[in-house]
């Protein structure tokens, strides 16, 4: 953190002075290209790093940006700068189309959708000759904005060179703007939403953060940046053709992000520098051999040290070291390396996937962190203090007195031939804790999933505050004031505790993404307010001290408490707790009991699924017992506990020995 600001200033100064220090047009153009690739990589990082999806379509989005500017110049004579907004908007629109096509798929399917999309775009650019001039490509001329040659001195240069330098500055400024935009978006509620849908789509939806909507948004932002970069690329190269935007380019972008390091600003820039420089490096076989030699030497030394220190991992360490040495030998045997550019790229991807999953920047960051933990932060530190009063903001439920808050009527849920729920009726009165128990497979979790919209019921209906909610999407039900926790904890693992809670507070923001990018007073205020509330909620469950820890590093018991805090951030009228005590130690359970009571004291109605009977019997006002998807008993805890049907369901049919 302390290093960040001076380094950033240094970087900006270096970027701006570069063309006057290294005056070779070749290198000025090279750095401009790095800036352009960095813009794509920063945008791709939003999709790849933050939402966790592999996109193989970014070369096409980049191409769409390039061709928008190219076609506008070629067909309508519109200049470079005026064409940039068009390039961004058109690419973003295509990004939206791509995201809509990929809405219901993830992982390999999404990768294939993006690949098919990219291939189609490339074919269209190639074939739509009337618009794009087809395989012949389009030539454009970078403009000169201001003739500074008469100033003399360092500004005395040829027209071509001035064109080159001025174009460089356009690219450099675009990169700086991109850095600001991306940094602000990923630090805002949008960035948290992107990470949330990666770590747990179901929990995102149940926190009112619609997975579909935010996935489309992530693609739109990412595509817009690719479009911007494409437009810059067209004028930097001054010539574009369809085969510039092939599948291999998408791989190059992905390599830049993974190699540099996901989820950072520095990483994609470092990665872009590597992928742009590398082909030039490969052209010089001697230099390439020397570099391979240096890498092999470093690997041998570092690996050697590690093997001595940690003998157990010897075999595992030996493999990458051997690979680096083999790579050096391979470099020595080759006469001409340029032809093997893609092999080198491929090998680098494999290496990164296996040995540098966090990229070069992530690796360095960890290295520094192991020596000076205070110097690096993976997350923004949020150190506001919470207070009890700020934690609660729920409005009282709108139900007539004596009417239930939640009413489940003749609920039927069928999976194939299996009736998981068979005509179940439940009425939950406001202000109560309603227990839901039953043996394994009795339909408790299914009930939970129907109530929160994860399943649409086969029959029957669910009324909340008197209006039907069955069949609504999870995010819509969450917005009405129904929050939940999960049996198998569903936290946003790579977000900090306070960020987890702030995902739950997504609904408290009104500002748009544009306001976030411009850092308007309202968006700053909203963020500050959300931080205080989140800190207060953490304080309520006793996790304030761990606010800036990643959720995945929490012990299990604390994870369950964090889920409760996150659910409370929704300001729920009804809170569904799905086995909150599972896996907790005895002291944890005592704490949990206290917290649940306090939540009730604040007027929140709860449904509690739990196997720890002491917890259920001690807390609940009413208990419903399910068995084989049917309600077999209902009443206060003592009644239910004594009910012979309940005892039989739990301890086994006709055997009276224990039941006595």
């Amino acid at each position: 953190m302390r290093l960040k600001l001076p380094l950033a200033v240094l970087g900006i100064v270096a970027l701006l002075l570069f063309p006057f220090v290294i005056t070779s047009p070749y290198y000025v153009h090279l750095v401009a290209t790095i800036a352009i690739f960095a813009i794509v990589a920063l945008g791709l990082d939003i999709v790849f790093g933050y939402t966790g999806e592999v996109s193989l379509g970014h070369s096409a989005l980049f191409g769409i940006g390039a061709y928008t500017s190219g076609v506008l110049a070629f067909q309508l004579g519109i200049g470079f700068l005026p064409s940039i907004p068009f390039a961004i908007v058109v690419a973003a629109a295509f990004g939206a189309v791509l995201a809509l096509l990929a809405l219901r798929v993830t992982g390999p399917y999404l990768a294939m959708v993006t690949l098919a999309f990219g291939t189609i775009i490339q074919i269209l650019i190639n074939e739509m000759t009337f618009l794009t001039n087809g395989p012949l490509g389009i030539s454009v001329r970078a403009p000169v904005y201001y003739d500074w040659r008469e100033w003399g001195g360092v500004f005395d240069m040829s027209l071509a060179k001035m064109r080159n330098v001025q174009n460089y500055y356009v690219d450099a400024v675009a990169l700086l703007i991109t850095l600001v935009v991306v940094t602000r978006i990923v630090a805002s509620r949008w960035g948290r939403a992107f990470e949330a849908l990666r770590d747990s789509p179901i929990a995102s939806d149940c926190m009112g953060v619609s997975v579909y909507k935010h996935k489309v948004l992530a693609f739109v932002v990412s595509a817009g940046l690719a479009g911007l970069a494409g437009s810059l690329f067209a004028y930097s190269e001054q010539y574009i053709a369809p085969n510039n935007f092939s599948f291999d380019l998408s791989i190059t972008f992905l390599l830049a992000v993974t190699m540099g390091g996901r989820k950072s600003r520095t990483g994609p820039i470092v990665g872009a520098a590597i992928v742009v420089f590398l082909p030039n490096l490969l052209a010089d076989i001697v230099l390439f051999r020397e570099l391979a030699g240096v890498i092999a030497a470093v690997a041998v030394v570092a690996g050697g040290i590690k093997m001595v220190r940690d003998p157990e991992s010897r075999a595992r360490t030996a493999i990458p070291v051997a690979l680096c040495v083999a790579f050096f030998v391979f470099a020595l045997t080759l006469e001409k390396i340029t032809d093997f550019k893609l092999t080198v790229f491929g090998a680098m991807i494999l290496f990164v996937v296996y040995y540098l999953p966090d990229g070069i920047f992530g690796f360095l960051r960890q290295g520094v962190a192991s020596v000076r933990p205070g110097w690096v932060r993976m997350h923004a530190m949020i150190e506001v203090k919470g207070d009890e009063a700020s934690a609660w903001a729920a409005t009282p439920p709108r139900v007539e007195s004596g009417r239930p808050l939640l009413e489940v009527r003749r609920l039927l849920m069928q999976f194939g031939g299996l009736k998981a729920l068979d005509n179940v009726d439940i009425a939950v009165m406001p202000g109560t804790i309603h227990g839901l128990i039953g043996p394994n497979g009795s339909g408790k979790s299914t009930t939970m999933n129907v109530l929160t919209g994860i399943y649409a019921p086969t029959g029957g209906e669910v009324l909340f505050e008197g209006t039907p909610i069955s069949g609504l999407a999870p995010a819509a039900i969450a917005a009405k004031g129904v929050a939940r926790t999960f049996q198998n904890v569903q936290l946003f693992a790579e977000l900090t505790l306070i960020e987890n809670v702030m995902v739950g507070l997504h609904h408290t923001y009104a500002g748009s993404m544009a306001e976030v990018v411009l850092a308007t007073p309202r968006s700053v205020r909203e963020e500050a307010r959300a931080r205080v509330r989140a800190a207060s909620l953490l304080r309520f469950v006793g996790l304030e001290a761990l606010a800036n820890e990643e959720a995945r590093n929490l012990p299990y018991g604390k994870q369950r408490l964090l889920e409760i805090a996150r659910a409370l951030a929704l300001d729920p009228k009804l809170l569904l707790l799905d086995e909150p005590a599972a896996g907790l130690t005895a002291p944890d359970i005592v704490e949990l009991n206290l917290i649940i009571r306090k939540i009730r004291d604040h007027g929140v109605t709860m449904i509690l699924i739990e196997h720890h009977m002491d917890v259920v019997m001690g807390l609940c006002d009413t208990v419903t017992v399910l068995d084989f998807g049917q309600k077999i008993a209902e009443g206060n805890p003592a009644q239910v506990q004594a009910d012979p049907r309940v005892v039989a369901a739990y301890l086994g049919g006709s055997h009276e020995t224990v039941a006595a």
Binding site: P439, N440, G583, G618, A638, Q641, Y650, L651, G652, H655
Partner: protein, 240 residues
């Protein structure tokens, strides 16, 4: 025959078992009971290699099998009929049974022997014989349970682990399952039975362990546990 000592296991950061020790003597039926989430299934998974234990030892017939992959453990004669039955739904009943004997089928043993074993299973579970050509996925829950048990027996196991054979079955079928277990016990099959239905399990078992929150809280002769109020409390909580 099977001896586990101070077994600690869990999923990721979640530690489910805290130093569980259980002994299953040769030819005996031992049952492990406890409420949902107590760690019964996790215990069996850690024994059969579906889950790598963090610490502790698992000994099968005197040999240390801790942390081996499940296919190695199966070769050493441990059969596990897992929770939820897990039959191979797109294979026929006969093929399911044949795969139960996979460790023997790839050795030098003649195939005839496996076929004979299969016929014995059909005698023991006549309903499976009727449905031998049917896909296992089309069987009813009770039939699938029979198949899962028969498939595990096809290994000719030294020890058989049964995980909640009664789960999700109607009461009549539950009785049938327990009758089958009783028959296996007569044949001196060494078994570790995990059950939620404590009463029924203790009726057939020789010895019982009660698991609560990943720890063995009570253990003893099955006959003694039957009347023990601590067992009831483990399920329904202490009376209020």
């Amino acid at each position: 025959m099977l001896k586990i000592e101070k077994l600690v296991a869990g999923y990721g950061k979640v530690r489910v078992l805290q130093e569980v020790s259980i002994t299953v003597p040769k030819g005996q039926l031992v049952t492990l009971i406890g409420s949902n989430g107590a760690g019964k299934t996790t215990t069996l998974r850690a024994i059969s290699g579906m889950l790598k234990p963090e610490s502790g030892t698992v000994m099968l017939a005197g040999a240390d099998i801790t942390g081996m992959p499940s296919h190695e453990i199966a070769k050493r004669g441990l059969a596990h009929s897992p929770e939820g039955r897990r039959v191979f739904s797109t294979l026929s009943v006969a093929d399911n049974l044949e795969l139960g004997a996979f460790t023997r089928a790839i050795g030098a043993r003649p195939r005839g022997e496996i076929r004979q074993d299969r016929e014995r299973m059909y005698e023991m579970f006549p309903r499976l014989a009727e449905r031998r050509a049917q896909f296992a996925g089309t069987l009813s829950g009770g039939e699938q349970q029979m198949l899962a048990m028969a498939r595990a027996l096809m290994l000719n196991p030294e020890v058989l682990l049964l995980d909640e054979p009664s789960m999700g079955l109607a009461p009549l079928l539950v009785e049938e399952v327990f009758a089958t277990i009783a028959r296996l016990k007569e044949r001196r099959v060494t078994m570790l039975l995990v059950e939620q239905f404590a009463a029924a399990a203790l009726d057939v078992a020789d010895y019982g362990y009660v698991l609560e929150n990943g720890r063995v809280t009570v253990s003893g002769e099955a006959a003694k546990l039957r009347g023990d109020p601590a067992v009831r409390a483990a399920y329904l909580g202490a009376a209020h």
